[in-house]
Each structure stands twice: as C-alpha cells, then as structure tokens.
Symmetry: C2
Subunit: 590 residues, 2 copies
C-alpha cells in the first residue's frame, strides 16, 4: 500500500521540543525562529527529513508555519485544518487563523523588536520580501536551521533513485528542451532552477524523493550555451546510465553554493520559488523572472497527451472494477479504509501503477463534507444506508498522472442529495462542453461550473480545477480554473474539472474529470479565428442513480449519454464479463 | 428634434488651421501642441466651445487626439473611426491607430527633444503622468490653449440653466449626501470634484451644458465640515432658487484657481479625472483617491430605482408604439432617418422627454454591423426586404435614463440571422436569469452573455453592459459587465445587458435591456449567505419572428414567455386599442 491510515498526532511531543528550540535560539542569538512546512524545493510533499513542522509541533497538515519566540509560540493554519490542529498540537502553541492573520502581523504584535531567525534555504525570495515589508519592529536574520540542531534522530535526506523518462513518452528530447530554453534566456547568461518538477521535466527524468510526486530533489543551473549543471547526490543517479548525455554535468549538492558564487551574470532566478540562500550566494547581477520551465511544461506534447489518454483508460478500468465491487457491498458492511484499500488494489492490479497521485480521499456521509479528508484508523466510518460516498483518487503511471472523483449513493440518500448532485454535474458538464475564444483564463471559465448551484443559493469553497502534470505533480501551475486563474489557457494544458457541494455534518459531493485544452475545429462563418475547447481524458461512469433528469437540459442529457456510451466503448473491452455487465448498466442512457 | 443628420465633415478646413496653430506654437515657444477631444470635465460629450479637435482637424468622433508638431501632425483614432477619419480629415494629418500606437510613442519617434505644449485644464493628472513616463525625448509643458488663441469665432462656453432634482426622485437630500461624504474623507480636509455628474448627483441638481447628459459644467470643493463651494457661472443658477441652502456656497468659476491655492490640506483629488491645472494650483498636501461620489452614485436609492421603473414603463410604451408603426411599413418604403425621427416623436409624445440619452443608432442591413453607427443624410439606407434593423436608443426623463436596443426583421432575413439572433438572446437571458454570490464583478458575469455565441465560433467586440445613471449619464461607472469590470456588483447598480453579433457588410444584431442589481430572496438550505440577482427594468417585446425555438432550453423559453406576459401586463394599459392588439401578437408565447 502507498497509503497508510495512522494517526500521527502526538501533542505531547511539542512542549519539550519547543523548550529545546528556545535553547538553540538563545545560543544563536535570535529572539525567534520560523519553521515553515517546506523544504528547499517548495513542493506539496516533503521528505521525512524535512518534516520539521510536524516534528516540532505535532501538526501534520500539508501547509502551515510555526513561529517560536522566547515567550510565545504559534502554529499558523488555514481553515482546512482548524479542527485537526486542536487534536494534534499542544496548548503551548497558539493557533492562528492564517492567512487571515499573517505571520508578520502576529510577530509584530508579539515582539517589539529584535531578530527573528530563519533558514535561508526554506524561505523564498518573495516570502522574505513580503514579510520584511510587513514587519515594523523585528528584523529577519538568516541562521542555521535550529530545528535540525536539536532533532536527534532526524531522518537523512532522501536518496530516491532517479530514472529516465523515455523520450517516446516525453515527446521532446531533453537536449532540445535545454536548447529552446537557453535561447529564450535573453540577456541572462544562466538561470537557476530549484523546483523539482521543472528539473524533472527539463531533463526527462523522474525521481522518488517524496511521496506521490515522482520528482528528485536537486538543483540545476541552465547555462546560455545550452548546457545544464545538475546538483544531485551521485547515489541517486547511479542507475541513470548515459541518459543525461554531454549537455548535462552532474555535481554533488555540496558544490551548489560555490557554483552560484562563481556564476558570471546576469543570472535569472524565479523569486516565487528561489530560496533566499540562492540569491544571497549569487555575486552576479540578478534578473528576476518566472521559472522558464513552468509554461512549456504545462503545454503537453502530443506524446504526453497520448500518454495521458492511455493512462486514463487503464486507470478508468481499475476505477470501474472498484465501482462495481463497491456497488455490490451492502450498506453497513464496509469501512472507508476498505474502500481505499480496494481501490489501491485495483490500481495495483494494472501492474503499471508507480504510485498513487495523492492519498485517496474517501469520505462517507459527513466525512465527505471535509474537502481534504484523509481517513485514519480513528476516523474511518462504516458506509451506512443513506450516505453519499465521495472518492477522490488518482494514479501515477509512467505515461500519465490521473485524478478522478466520483460520488456514489449508499442505498438511497434522498432528494436533497440528488438535486445537489445534479447541479454539480450540470456545472461539470458546462465546463466540459464549453467552446471559447483563445485568450480566456481559468477565471473566465470558473463561473460556468457554479451557475447551476448559485441558482439555488449553493456554491463550493475551492477552485474548479488545477493543472495536472504528465507523470509529474498532480497539482501543477500556472493553469487553473478558479478566481485566481489569470493565465490564458493554451492547447495541451491538462486541468481538472471538479465542481462540488458540501453540506457540513451531512454529506459531500464532487465530480471530477481531467480535461485537456485543444483547438476547436473551425466552423463555417466563424468570427472567432481561434477557438479552444476541452478534450475529456477521464472515462468512468457518473452515478446516474443520483441524477434528477428533469434538471438537465437536452444538451446536458445528450452530453451525459454520449459520455457514457464512450465509457462503455473505451473501458468495456478491458473488463471481464461480469464487470462489463455492470458497466453496461451504469452506462445506460437516461 | 434632439438629433440631427448633418454631415459635419469638412476636410478642407484643417490645413490652414494647422498652419495658424503652428504660428501660435512658434509664438509660445513650444515644438508641439496636444489637442484632446476633451474639456476640463472629461465627459463623453463636449460643448461647441470645446470642440477644438473637430474645429482643427475636421474629425467629429467622440474620442481622439491631435498632436501638432512643427513639421508633422497626426490624428489618433480608435478602430471605430478608421473609415470615418479618412473622409473627414485632410492628408496633412497622419492617421494613427490608437491606442495601439500611443501618443508618446509617436511623439518620441517624430521629435528627438523639445517642448510639447498642452492645456493643463484638458489633461488629467494620470494622463500627463503616463505620457511623461513614456516620453524619452521631449518634455511636456503647460501653456495657454493655442487653439483658443487662433479660433476667431469660437463659441462661448455653455450657459445651460441648472435646475433642482426633487428629493422625492433623488431619494436623499443633498445635505445628507454632503454630510456622509464629508465623514468619509478621513485625513483630507477638502476634496476637489471636477466631474459634472458627480457634482449633479451630490447637490441634487441637473444642467444643460452638453448634449444628452443633463449635467452642468462646474467645479466643486467638498469641505470636511460638510459644506461645499460650487464654482459655477451665476447666470446658470439664476432659476435655482434656494435649493442649495446653507451648506453650499456659489462662487464664479474665475475664483476656482485662487480658492485651490488658498485651501488648507490635505486635499483629496481623483488623479483619473482631475485636470493637471488643479493639482498644480494646490499649495497643500495632496491625497490621491477616487472621486468619492462615484460609488454612492452608482448605488441607486429606492426612489431612484422606482423612478427608473416608471421611466422605463413610459419609455416602453413609446417604444411599443414605434415598433407597431415600424412593423406596418412595407420593405422599401422608409429610411433609417424616418426610423429615428418617428422614434423620437413617439418619445416626445410622452410629454416627459427631457432629452434623448444619446443619438439613436438606427442601422439597417450592413449599417447594423457598425457598432457606433450614426445615420446622416449621406449614409441613410432605405429599409429593404431581408434586412435586419438594429435600433439602439434611449430617453432622458426626470425620473430616469433609459437605453434599449431591439433588432427587427424587415421581411424575412433568413436562417443565419435567426440563429445568430437566438444565440444573442440566449446570452441576454443568461445574464437576466443569473443568481450569484455577492462579491462577483462584471468580469465574472460577462462570459455568460457570450457562451451561446462561442459555441458556434461567434462573439462580439464590445462589453456586455455599462452602468447607467439616474437621469444622468447613460454611461456611468464603476459598474460594468465586461472583461474590464473589476468592481463588485452591488444592490442598486443599474446596468445595461446588451450582447450582440455583427457580420461586417451584412447585418448587426443587439438586444438590450437595462437591469438593476438586487438582493435575491433567501432559499431554504442555501450556503451562500448573500446572493444577488438582476431586476429587469425594460419591458418592450423582443421580436420572436427571429427566434429559433429549438435553440432555446425550456428555462430560456419560460423566461421569454414570462417576460412577454409582463410586457403585455405593464405596457398594454398605456396603449390605444390598435397598438394593444399589435402588442398582444408581439407578446404571444412561443
């Protein structure tokens, strides 16, 4: 199993560790210390070596900060974690609603002046600047990581093997990517890249240093002469053979800082992801710009799109086997953990699963209303008559990353649930069917996913869709369908389309397909010269038992019936007879 | 008639006047001079006294600039006017596509250095700053208006009478508005207001200095002690009686500059509308902020909303009489000018019409595709079998400002026209039916008006809606439904809802109602605590002969039939028997 169900909360560990940290602060001559839930690569997942926030405080959420001062300490968590933090973190830490209250605001109120220490590898240039701008009393001071100094049995940094991503799947040789990016550098003579999925994309490699995201921890310098220096632990690349070729030179990570110092300028960095330590080490002139890999990585190649289609059909068959099994379980007989276990087993049985894309969210009844729910031994519910069962999951395959949510009835949930499900579905169909002029951003599209809910005073508190990588991170930018989606959508971008509705304490609904932006075919008489639309990648039935047909327009019903006909045609041939029979029923036209 | 059909183009006047202007530049010691199509109040319409751009160049469009240099001169016009400018402006003036090419870019390329003169009353603080930032060679230099120096028979500044807007229609006494705004000034001790519709709204007055917009030319200083000094020609306020009361002191316009010099600070100005001359005259500290009248003016009072409803029913009856007349005219028998004349006569017959809201756009056949078409004796077409007839018009009544577009068939235009009409209608209905969470901006709503057109590769090049005043300017901000609509919509805001489609050289379609933002009633189980929706103000039939019923969803058809039932109920009682019969046919359910 890739997923575990442990409760990792241990609030009793916090106070003595905080005490030890304060001793280290005293020795370092600082009045405070910042502990982000981040490593030097600013990814969504960190290795055990970098779990400083949870080690110190007990808090295991995927985002947050601790600020330790001499007399006070606080854990900063967003609204997803307000309940969880109470059970995980001791009373010695204040719990602060973040980003409603910023770190700087809280520090300013707690500390009239003095030095607040931070590890310059764990703060980005932008984070430090914004904090400095907002702090009126205290000063930020780089220092060694004080948590590392007191963490006796800190795990070693990860040493996950790096392997090549075949060019047949990547669609472009890494030499060619390097060449194109080097050409685009303009005045800059080099560019520092610190994001692991950018490095993985650029060099057509994958890694295994953190959970779920197949990326290596490494730093890279792209030179204007179309060569790359890769700073990576040699143990990781032992099996990589000659994949990297002549244009890439590997050096050990401990050479990175001196290489930065020696770089002739101008040197380009991305302030949003670059650690403060990097910019501090550079002696040359700095040009600030976005990470140049991000946009080309988001525009998938034809090979990556074909890989995504293949991965989705494979994953779709696993999902269908799972759904047919789930449908056969009587209410009251299985738990959420059973659901997660069975689903991972079905994916594993494809013999192609490299990892799951993220911990499966399997929320029944009221647990479905917790948007980022992770089932543990302590929270796992038995699926009960009248529940909705929300399952959000995905697989990492060598040819693509999947992410799918389906919501199923356990017995007969009732009319409120069916109406909400149908309205969520209408939004999901509205996005799927949209044809739109090139130049629009995800912000312009997001309202279409919500209008049917708005009509009856409902909405959901998350974005409609995030970008998805090609056997990379399941959450990738810059594309997204959300109010914060300010980048024009471009052909080849893969996005999720996942409207939802959540009734706290009662049920949650989410329906999610992955979609890829593509050119729409020309229409005679068109005045928009370049229209875009979405290709659907996910083919898994949507539970029609929860659909209120009268709430659908003819066009929406046609879309749903056409979709199910495609599901049957594409997934059916992969199934045994019994499962295919079940799928035929699930795909029956309404 | 408020509208005329003259051709005012006279390209032969330009060259000698340009020659005279160059003489004035020589005497003033400048190497160039800027001539905007603007007065000191930055409105959409200028008085004959301020028609410097058209006097100098011949160009009569509603926006544009002339830059005169010693050797070269150019007229800057946007895409609406590229055809018109050719027939109006002599070859001595280059024609520049603006804002694609900015004034600063063109000047920089034409003039390596030197002084470019400008009238500091006609440039806003923001305009001057942006131009200065973009100019690398020449310097901007304030100077007297050189066009005024050479314009022998320049008309006098307007002296339109000012009259009181009854508090029963305004919904709030002007003393109360002054008090509330003065309270909101914060640190500022005074605020300079130069926008005529802001002054008209604040003091509950109306004027007649320019066409179509019932506003007076004046300047005002709002003091923190809740008094106002109004700088206005005493001849204009002769009939105003004691309306202004003790809180407002009137002074002649020539006192304005010395009053600014004497003001104690800090003084608030709106850099987007404030003339450079004002900020230059201020000796005190300046606080830059938006004009404080704009947002409260946009949130109409209950009385203004009731006035808008009343004005729309009156205007709607005039529109229905006009449409029934139009429907009785055989193809080939009337001209666009006949259409405009008849419509204005119907409005005038209400005995309540103060002005038309703007020159009626009456475009038949290919003229309908010219978005800002104004019919003249030279362009007027005879309405011909197979035409679409687009009529965009409005009336200024003491209780409200109207703006309506309807598109009618002349004979039987054909299926392409009907499909496009139906898709435009779908967009107009989508906006009308929308319920949405408070906080959304017009940008978030604009795509709903376009999706049905996008579906077949069509779109329109203008925004979906503009704000509308209460017996004030028919175009008012900050609310709008467009990609540039960044202000959250609030209850009481009146907007147009006017999607369209234009096939250049063939036909134009636009369907426009005015709508007002209102709180939506609560719905049991809602999770959005404050939803908004639109109240429809306009009740005039939409031509169902151009509707393809199969393209409408059930909900859209229901909306259209309900709308027509309301039209009949609200407008029918105002009509004679024959017109009511016609209206019954026009409102028949489809």
């Amino acid at each position: 199993m890739f997923q575990t169900f442990d409760e990792t909360a241990s609030p009793d560990q916090g106070p003595p560790r905080l005490q030890a940290l304060r001793g280290a602060m005293e020795r370092a001559g600082v009045d405070g210390f910042l502990v982000p839930r981040a490593d030097a690569h600013q990814g969504e997942y960190v290795a055990p070596h970098d779990e400083r926030l949870s080690w110190l405080t007990g808090f295991t959420g995927s985002a947050g900060w601790c600020v330790a001062l001499r007399e006070r300490a606080a854990v900063f968590i967003d609204s997803r974690y307000t309940v969880q933090v109470q059970s995980q973190v001791a009373a010695d830490f204040e719990k602060v609603d973040w980003p409603a209250t910023s770190l700087a605001e809280w520090i300013d109120a707690a500390l009239p002046g003095g030095l607040v220490g931070f590890d310059p590898w764990l703060l980005t240039v932008t984070q430090k600047r914004e904090m400095e701008k907002a702090l009126s009393g205290p000063t930020l001071a780089p220092c060694p990581n004080l948590v590392d100094e007191i963490w006796q049995d800190q795990p070693a940094p990860p040493q996950g093997a790096v392997f090549a991503q075949p060019v047949e799947l990547a669609g472009m040789a890494h030499d060619e990517k390097i060449r194109q990016l080097a050409q685009g550098l303009g005045k800059a003579r080099a560019c520092v890249i610190t994001l692991p999925d950018s490095i993985a994309w650029l060099l057509n490699i994958r890694g295994s240093d953190v959970a779920h995201n197949p990326v290596p921890h490494a730093f890279a310098i792209l030179h204007a002469d179309a060569t790359v220096t890769l700073f990576i632990d040699p143990a990781k690349t032992a099996d990589l053979g000659d994949h990297l070729g002549d244009s890439v030179t590997c050096r050990p990570p401990e050479d990175f800082e001196s290489a930065l110092q020696a770089l002739a300028g101008p040197v380009q960095i991305d302030p949003a992801s670059c650690p403060v330590a990097v910019i501090d080490a550079l002696a040359a002139e700095v040009i600030e710009n976005g990470d140049p890999c991000i946009l080309p990585k988001a525009r998938k190649t034809a090979a990556e799109l074909q890989g995504a289609r293949d991965a989705h059909l494979r994953d779709g068959a696993a999902m269908v086997r799972f759904l047919s099994w789930l449908d056969a379980q009587a209410p009251g007989t299985i738990s959420e953990i059973d659901v997660v276990t069975r689903l991972e087993a079905e994916r594993a049985s494809t013999n192609a699963l490299r990892e799951i894309s993220f911990d499966t969210i399997a929320g029944s009844g009221p647990n479905g209303a917790i948007v980022h729910y992770r089932v543990t031994e302590g929270t796992s519910r038995t699926l009960t008559e009248g529940d909705l069962m929300l399952v959000d999951s995905g697989g990492q395959y060598v040819d693509g990353t999947t992410d799918i949510t389906r919501t199923m009835p356990v017995g007969d949930p009732g009319p409120e649930q069916s109406e909400a499900f149908t309205r969520v579905l209408k939004g999901m169909i509205a996005v799927s069917r949209l044809r739109f002029p090139k130049g629009l951003t995800g912000r312009d599209i997001d309202p279409f996913a919500r209008a049917a809910l708005w009509e009856v005073g409902l909405d959901y508190g998350h974005g409609t869709g995030h970008g998805v990588g090609a056997y990379l991170s399941v959450h990738e930018g810059p594309q997204r369908i959300a109010r914060t989606g300010t980048v024009p959508l471009e052909p080849g971008m893969i996005l999720s389309n996942e409207p939802g509705f959540y009734r706290p304490g009662a049920f949650g609904i989410r329906i999610e397909n992955l979609i890829a932006v593509e050119h729409a075919p020309a229409i005679e008489g068109q005045t928009v010269s370049d229209s875009l639309r979405f290709e659907t990648l996910t083919y898994v039935p949507i539970d029609t038992r929860l659909v209120v047909p009268d709430l659908l327009t003819d066009a929406e019903r046609d879309w749903l019936n056409d979709y199910h006909a495609e599901v049957l045609a594409r997934i059916g041939p992969q199934l045994d007879a019994a499962t295919r029979d079940w799928l035929e029923g699930a795909c029956r036209a309404i």
